[in-house]
């Protein structure tokens, strides 16, 4: 359990640093592009594209992080109404199970997309990098999300004790 907790915390750190770096790096790329356009009468056509792909990766990896923290935006009327009622746990478990399923859907069909782009050798408009390197964010994000939702599901089934130990590790 402790090893798993450590791995979990490490993964979370890596994800955090990854998305934070993407966000701040794309701010700088855009800023430098504006400066270059006015200061040096020159601009990089690839800046806009690079930032767009950075944000795509940031969103999918960030979604895994949000799943880890239970921070995804949802309509939580029913959860609040149920409070500590035992039915709440049934509800939480079934929602987590659905989320795991759908995350796996993202892995399978996201991979389809990647395979297609590779088969046709599609490249991006100005950077000329393979398109699948960007689309890969979907299956990777999906896999990480499946892991996080499964983790939450497990914690809920195992009861409050396991849940709180996971909380501490985070």
């Amino acid at each position: 359990m402790t090893l798993l907790c450590k791995l979990d915390a490490a993964l979370e750190r890596v994800e955090e640093v990854f998305i934070g770096a993407l966000l701040i790096a794309s701010s700088f790329v855009l800023f430098i592009n504006v400066v270059a356009r006015y200061g040096f009468n020159d601009s990089f056509t690839w800046a806009e594209e690079l930032k767009r792909y950075a944000i795509v990766w940031m969103v999918f990896i960030g979604s895994s992080l949000a799943a880890r923290k239970g921070a995804h935006i949802s309509v939580d009327v029913l959860w609040r109404v149920l409070g500590d009622h035992p039915a709440r746990r049934v509800l939480v478990v079934s929602v987590d199970a659905l989320c795991v399923l759908f995350s796996l859907f993202l892995v399978v069909y996201g991979w389809d997309l990647v395979a297609q782009a590779r088969e046709f050798g599609q490249v991006t408009a100005s950077l000329q990098v393979p398109l699948w390197t960007v689309q890969l964010a979907i299956p990777v994000g999906g896999a990480l999300m499946a892991l996080r939702f499964a983790q939450h599901l497990f914690a809920e089934v195992a009861g409050r004790a396991a849940n709180s130990s996971l909380e501490i590790s985070g």
Binding site: E16, L30, G62, I73, D76, C99, F105
Partner: protein, 427 residues
């Protein structure tokens, strides 16, 4: 298969599945039963929905607002607002509204505005003789100005789902925000007069100059953003990125209240907050693809139009529907789900798409503090000793005032449209 689609949409939403899963899974379920089309369309739309130029300003505006509020700007803005408007009856209440307007011009988010302004002003309001419900109410209600005064994430979302110009929406938000905020100010004066709240000290005008200089670094953000966009110096996205670098510079080297590590934490939090919003926008493009491909969009529009052919009535119906939706879900999600449909309805009855965007945004703003699930109500607990029940009680008079503001903005288009007409001659 329409019934499967709507049923799974409603059931999944109600049991609390994350909204972005709901939107794409409902489409997936319906497509799977229909057969024929490859399910990879869903991931394809998910990617295409995110890989959109118009949405790219969102992460940077979120980051700018957060950097500025942790960096020490909010205290300076409140101080300035208080010096300017604090001298009249109800001055401290008006200060709250006014500070929220200033802060809204830097941040595009409503809960962030409540926290930034409220944490500074809440103790002063109580000390100044305002009742607790009023103090909470004025803060959570005027915090909603954060999404009306540009920049606004909700407006960017509307622009992305309808194709309306972000720049035009932003500038229309200025007039609408001032009109909406003015309604709150009038109520503040009435409240203070009615309850004999003492006036604050009258500060010398010389102090104003000093406060203005002190806050000017922060007020530079709207200048950079709006000025830059309208002068055609850069796109809204570039404006947002430039203001990130600017606010990073101001927080790290001018105000110097937070360490670089704390600013890095802010960047991480903003990235995470962005992901939560933008994944929903990606899923929304799955939904709107499905609605259009099946002709459901047209059917829903027709159904709404069949209720009445009077534009005044239709606008009232739109407002009522969005107000109710706003009690349960946040403004950006409403824009995502209802935006494209209401846009079509608005086109049919001849409402200007920019004006409609402003109406929907003001609606969403009211929803931010409407019970039971307005986000600002929950944020209020971070202001100090405030329970959810107290926040709800405080919100009531302001909901009525907000609706008055909404009616004015809805039926007097000039408030929103005058400025954009001046700036964009061809509009």
């Amino acid at each position: 298969m329409t019934s499967v689609f709507f049923a799974s949409l409603v059931v999944l939403l109600t049991i609390g599945v994350p909204i972005f899963f709901v939107l794409s899974a409902a489409v997936g379920a319906a497509m799977w039963l229909e057969g024929g089309l490859p399910l990879a369309i869903i991931t394809e739309r998910l990617f295409a929905g995110l890989d959109k130029f118009s949405l790219m300003a969102i992460p940077f505006f979120i980051l700018t607002g957060n950097l500025m509020s942790v960096g020490g700007l909010s205290r300076r803005l409140v101080h300035l607002a208080n010096l300017l408007v604090g001298r009249v009856t109800g001055g401290l209440g008006i200060t709250a509204v006014c500070s929220s307007m200033f802060f809204g011009a830097i941040s595009g988010s409503s809960p962030a505005t409540v926290v930034a302004v409220g944490s500074v002003l809440y103790p002063s309001l109580l000390k100044g003789g305002y009742g607790q419900p009023f103090s909470i109410g004025v803060l959570i209600a005027s915090g909603s100005l954060g999404i009306i005064i540009p920049p606004s994430i909700v407006m960017i979302v509307y622009a992305a789902v309808t194709g309306v110009s972000v720049g035009a929406l932003f500038i229309a938000g200025v007039g609408a925000g001032v009109a909406y905020g003015f309604c709150f100010m009038v109520y503040c004066v009435y409240y203070a007069w009615r309850n004999n709240v003492p006036r604050g000290d009258i500060p010398p005008w010389s102090a104003v100059g000093k406060a203005l200089v002190d806050a000017s670094w922060g007020l530079g953000v709207p200048l950079v953003v709006l000025g830059g966009i309208y002068a055609g110096v850069f796109t809204p996205t570039e404006a947002a990125a430039v203001s990130v670098i600017y606010s990073l510079f101001v927080s790290a080297f001018i105000y110097r209240e937070k360490s670089l590590f704390e600013l890095w934490k802010t960047i991480l939090d903003s990235a995470s907050a962005t992901a939560q919003i933008m994944i929903i926008l990606a899923a929304a493009s799955v939904l709107s693809w499905y609605l259009t491909a099946n002709g459901l969009a047209v059917e829903t529009t027709q159904a709404m139009l069949s209720l009445s052919d009077n534009p005044v009535m239709i606008l009232m119906l739109i407002n009522a529907a969005v107000l109710i939706a706003g009690m349960f879900i946040d403004a950006a999600s409403i824009m995502v789900i209802l935006g494209p449909l209401l846009y079509k309805v608005g086109m049919e009855i001849g409402v200007d798409p920019i004006h409609l965007g402003i109406i929907l945004t003001v609606n969403g703003a009211i929803g931010m503090y409407t019970p039971p699930f307005g986000l600002n109500l929950f944020v209020a607990s971070s202001l100090g000793d405030v329970s959810y029940g107290q926040a709800v009680r405080g919100s009531f008079p302001f909901i009525f005032i907000g609706i008055v503001g909404l009616i004015i903005v809805t039926y007097v288009p000039a408030f929103s449209m005058w400025l954009p007409h001046q700036v964009y001659q061809g509009l």
